[in-house]
Structure formats: structure tokens, C-alpha cells
Amino acid sequence: MAQYVFHPAATRGFADHGWLKSYQTFSFAGYYNPQRINFGALRVLNDDIVSGGGGFGEHPHDNMEIISIPLEGELKHRDSMENAAVIKPGEIQVMSAGTGIYHTEFNKDKNKAVKFLQIWLYPNKRNVQPRYNQINIDNNIKNVLHQILSPDPMDEGVWIHQDAWFHKGDITAGNTVAYQIKKEGNGVYVFVISGSLIVDDHQLDTRDGLGVWDTRNITITASTDAVVLLMDVPMEVDF
């Protein structure tokens, strides 16, 4: 029987560093809530706003799969593997941090804020060779869940070291889409980027999250025009 955990937007952790405002679904940095640690392999879901000209100076990461999805504005990335890129809405960036990588992330615009989701997943293998990739995922076809991430380098979207699949959909009001969880033992975390929708009788609004597991299928009906991100992840993680 399907199980659910609901994370209303207003219950997220919040950090205000002036140049950075970060809404955190799961415990992160100074935000610690033992009831909000992870959803299976999904460990971090941060909804970040970086002011014009602001950004994260050089800092390290290791042993996490780090995904960035810009929502508004553009983000400049540089890393210790000599990757230098700008990511913008309609694109997705992935870093497999593995044995360790340093990077910086700055708002490309000096005046307007950049808004993006930063998502971390536990990897299914520690100490992998670090890697970086970004691709365009822009798709104008509405009422379809488009795959933007998977474990398979040959499949659609970016790939990561984890049995996880991400889908993004732009659903118009009144329409319903169905999603089948890709792997036995996975659950799916539904994050509403904008709008209102109903997931299996659960009402969700902008920036709400709903984790669903012990089922294979969910249905999503848009109450208003909505943009949704589905993160299909293993529920059991070998720490």
C-alpha cells in the first residue's frame, strides 16, 4: 500500500546569508531537523536565491551526486577539473563529486537574482572519478513527463552514479499524467516548482514536496498550470 510523506513549502529550513537565501527541504548546514534528513537516496533539496553578483566562493565536494537546475537567471560554474560554464533555465548540470572536486558558483548577472534548485543524491559507489556534465533539457511539449536524468549514459538526460531517474513536466490545468516508478524498491519525490496539483488525492502547491513509496504508480492532476519535478530514487541506501 502506498505510503506518503508531505513536506509543505513553509516547513522547510531557511537560511539568510544576505547574498544567499536558501530554503532547505532536508537538514543542511545549520538547519538540523532529525525528522527531515532524507528521502531514500535524495539527501539535499535546496531552493536557492543568489543576489546579483553574489555566489559561492571556491569550496569542495566529495562523494555526492550534485545536480543543479536553474529556474531564473544564469549561474557561472568553474571547477578544479577546469570546467567553466554558464547554466541557465532549460538546462541541467551534474557533478559526480567522487574522490573530490572544488568549484565556484556565481550569479552571472550583477543586478538580478538567480534562482536554482540544488539537489544532492547519495551515490551508489563511493570514491568514483569526479566528472561534470551539463545539457539542454528544454522541451516545449506540455502534459508529458520528460526524463532529464537517469543512471544510464546512453539514456535521455544527464546520468549519475545512482539508480535514480528525474522527470520534469509542464502540466496545463485540468490535465492528468501518470508516472510509473522505474525500479523495485524506489520511491518518488514530487516537488512542485510552480502551480497547484493533486498527487494521488494529496493537494500540493508551489514548492511543496511529497514523497511516495511502496507503490509502482502515481497520478498527477494539475489544478492550475503547473511545473513539476519528479525524483525517483532508491529508498534503501547503503551508508
Partner: protein, 91 residues
């Protein structure tokens, strides 16, 4: 004790932990260092970061787990560190 074979990342982890006046962190970059330090003093917690081989990790876990809680550290920086320590140490 924090274990990580990349000196610069280990230094970041140590600095972040030592910023908390209630915590004190010793850094170890090799399995040999871990065993040496364990022979010198007790630790409340071991954070196992990146870089050891699978064999070294198994040896470390076997050596440490009998004496001290061990947590695999993920992230290499400040994001998950506080939570990992708070979950592992008794209140």
C-alpha cells in the same frame, strides 16, 4: 577524527568542526595515521570521508567499530557535516 586522503578537503572538514567550541577534530589522511592516533587517544566519533580504497575502508571499519561509532561522511564540506555529527553523538 575525520579521515580523508585529500589534504585540502580534510583541512576544510577540520576547520568546520573546530569552529564549534564543543567539538575538537583530529585529521587523518591515511589508514596508518588512523591506527596510530587511535592508539594514542580515544575518540567519540570517526567521520570516514573520501579517498581510501574499499579494502582500506573495510580495515578501518573493522578496527574502529569495536571502539567508536563510525559515520561515512558525504559531501566534503559544510552541507551535511553538522547533521552527521548531531545524529551520531548522544545529546
Amino acid at each position: 577524527m575525520a579521515v580523508c586522503t585529500t589534504p585540502s578537503i580534510l583541512a576544510v572538514i577540520q576547520r568546520l568542526i573546530n569552529n564549534n567550541p564543543n567539538w575538537q577534530c583530529t585529521g587523518a589522511a591515511t589508514l596508518k595515521d588512523v591506527i596510530q592516533y587511535f592508539n594514542q587517544q580515544p575518540f567519540d566519533l570517526v567521520l570516514l570521508g573520501s579517498g581510501l580504497t574499499e579494502q582500506e575502508e573495510r580495515a578501518l571499519i573493522a578496527h574502529v567499530n569495536q571502539k567508536t561509532p563510525l559515520v561515512k561522511h558525504y559531501g566534503g564540506g559544510s552541507g551535511l557535516l553538522n547533521c552527521e555529527i548531531m545524529q551520531a553523538l548522544p545529546v
